[in-house]
């Protein structure tokens, strides 16, 4: 519970500090304190992970402990995912600062509320991940979504940003409406709003799960599928990714997706595991549809952010294979994939945020032409990321896909594994097309990377992607404990 409390208090206090400080230095101070705070929390959690199992010895009196443990579970799984979320938001803030400071965004985005909103979103995600009851989950989800609606529309003077915000809001509201109705049906048939209660009602041998619970589950899955932008609920992603300010898109693509997936994992494992053969076909359809649509639709893209949106959908397809096989090692594979995906996306966004062609912020892929001549190191780092995203062996992206396919094949889901393989070939095409643009084409625009911080994050993620192939085990063990706890309940 510590993380949430610290986050909440710091968000509020930063809000006050921001108000107190003079306008010019407010944002920078607030943002740097936020980053330092988040990173320190990550450090503490990493240390704490070493001390597991985290038994919640209640030195508080029984009432408060009742209060805390009824709706939230602070187990190894929640810890693992929180580390990812906090790290992601810290990085997003760090690489975003340069971006929101640059010219067109400065007027509307360069304000301390931006940081506070992101902190609120992170808080929402942490709550969401460690929720143990439908209500806690809903409130956490709402907190995160609202923060992101605001953030998406935050660039007030830009029509595209407000349109993105509006679209995201409208569809987000619809999805939370679906979610609520689903929860009400779940509550109606399982008589309790805790996951444990739902699980208990499912395990009771009296009768097969009532259809109300099934439809409730379907509606909930639909809403979460919307959050992780799986096909056919993905329609919002490309428009919001293109419209919203890039630093927010970075946050959306990494932290929010990880939180939503962790939420889905906890829901499927802790609440709906007995209904496995009901939701496995649904997840498989989602997976296959996302893989192929994501892969195919990315081919004609020319805007780098829309490109990232569609390729993210393809990645979600691959991750959902892990969900479809629903075994402990498939979930471990998913966690590993999330971790790898996060590092790659952060590196990629660090690059996108720093893209300037003749002073102007640019999102055109074609501007990358001939980057290998002008900025060899950045081009090399980006091509490493691209190859790793495509899942080519000498990089860690391959291992991520490898474990997912291993889990899928172990549960005889051969068809999905083959689809995954084919989709990753299609996706390899557009990833190496970017490498082609950088290395093979002659330089037209004079693309320049602005901001040393972004450049360091880019190099760090490229080195991580290469380094992790040598020792992927250090990520795998941590995932191991998280999953054991999840499946133990």
């Amino acid at each position: 519970m510590g993380v949430e409390i610290v986050l909440a208090t710091s968000a509020l206090s930063l809000l006050l500090i921001g108000l107190a400080l003079p306008a010019e230095i407010a944002t920078r101070v607030v943002s740097h304190t936020a980053v330092i705070l988040l990173l320190s929390m990550v450090a503490v959690l990493l240390w704490a992970q070493g001390q597991l199992p985290l038994t919640f010895t209640s030195d508080y009196d029984e009432l408060t402990s009742l209060m805390l443990t009824k709706h939230f579970r602070f187990d190894a799984f929640a810890l693992y995912v929180k580390i990812l979320i906090l790290f992601a938001s810290a990085c997003v803030l760090f690489i975003g600062l340069g971006f929101i400071g640059s010219e067109p965004m400065r007027k509307s985005l360069y304000r301390f509320e931006y940081v506070v909103i992101i902190l609120f979103a992170t808080l929402g995600m942490c709550l969401m991940v460690s929720a143990q009851s439908l209500l806690a989950l809903y409130v956490g989800l709402e907190l995160q979504s609202l923060a992101l609606y605001i953030a998406a529309a935050m660039q007030r003077d830009n029509l595209r940003s407000s349109e993105a915000g509006l679209k995201y809001f409208m569809l987000g509201a619809l999805s939370s409406g679906l979610l609520l109705f689903g929860f009400s049906l779940l509550y109606g048939s399982a008589e309790s709003i805790e996951f444990a209660g739902i699980l208990a009602s499912l395990q009771s041998p009296s009768h097969p799960a009532p259809t109300m619970l099934l439809v409730g589950m379907v509606l909930t899955l639909a809403a979460i599928a919307f959050k992780i932008s799986a096909v056919p609920f993905h329609m919002w992603t490309p428009d919001v990714y293109e419209g919203a300010p890039s630093s927010i898109v970075a946050f959306l693509a990494t932290a929010s997706k990880i939180a939503a997936l962790a939420l889905l994992m906890r829901l499927l494992v802790e609440a709906f595991l007995p209904l496995l053969d009901d939701w496995r076909p649904i997840i498989s359809i989602l997976a296959i549809a996302s893989m192929f649509l994501g892969a195919l639709a990315t081919i004609p893209q020319t805007n780098i952010k829309r490109f990232i949106a569609y390729s993210a959908i393809a990645h979600i397809g691959i991750i959902l294979i892990g969900f479809a096989s629903a075994t402990p090692d498939s979930m471990r594979a998913v966690l590993f994939y999330l971790c790898v995906y996060m590092t790659m996306s952060l590196g990629l966004f660090a690059f996108v945020l720093a893209m300037r062609s003749s002073g102007e912020v640019t999102e055109r892929i074609q501007d990358l032409a001939g980057l290998a001549h002008s900025d060899a190191k950045a081009a090399l780092a980006l091509s490493v990321l691209m190859f790793s995203m495509a899942g080519l062996p000498p990089f860690v992206g391959f291992f991520a896909k490898f474990y997912i396919f291993l889990a899928a094949l172990r549960t005889e889901l051969v068809l999905i594994a083959v689809c995954g393989a084919l989709a990753s070939v299609i996706s390899a095409f557009y990833y190496i097309r970017i490498v082609k643009i950088m290395y093979f084409d002659e330089a037209q625009g004079n693309l320049v990377l602005q901001g040393v911080g972004n450049r360091w994050i880019l190099y760090a993620s490229a080195i991580a992607v290469v380094g992790l192939t040598l020792a992927p085990s250090l990520l795998l063990e941590r995932g191991e404990q998280a999953i054991r706890v999840l499946f133990a309940s």
């Binding site: 529309a153 029509l159 349109e163 509201a173 009400s184 509550y187 490309p238």
Partner: protein, 110 residues
């Protein structure tokens, strides 16, 4: 007539479910069918939330467990927050676009 009436009384859980579901569907249709302006969308979202909370209250009454009502309470709170944000974004969009007809919101596509 009598069978209809007998099915009407006594007022059981099913009746409320019928009501909330139809409200839910109307809300969805509102979202989907209208071609006018965004306000209708916000209102239909409100309808969705109303349907959900009604569902919760009905189940809470049927199961005799208060947590449904607590849930409805929180739905109320979040719905309020959501509408404020929605309208704020709408205002910003209006300032940029001077029109909130659904048909105009299509700059981002492809």
């Amino acid at each position: 007539m009598p069978s209809l009436l007998s099915s009407l009384l006594p007022v059981s859980l099913a009746h409320y479910l019928f009501l909330s579901t139809s409200l839910f569907v109307i809300g969805l249709i509102g979202l989907f069918l209208n071609r006018r302006h965004v306000i209708v969308i916000l209102m239909s979202v409100e309808l969705l939330f109303l349907a959900a909370s009604m569902n919760f209250i009905a189940f809470s009454a049927a199961l005799g467990d208060l947590s449904g009502q607590v849930f409805a309470l929180f739905i109320l709170a979040t719905a309020a927050a959501e509408v404020t944000i929605g309208l704020a974004i709408l205002v910003v969009y209006y300032r940029n676009r001077a029109s909130i007809a659904i048909h105009d919101i299509s700059d981002l596509k492809g």
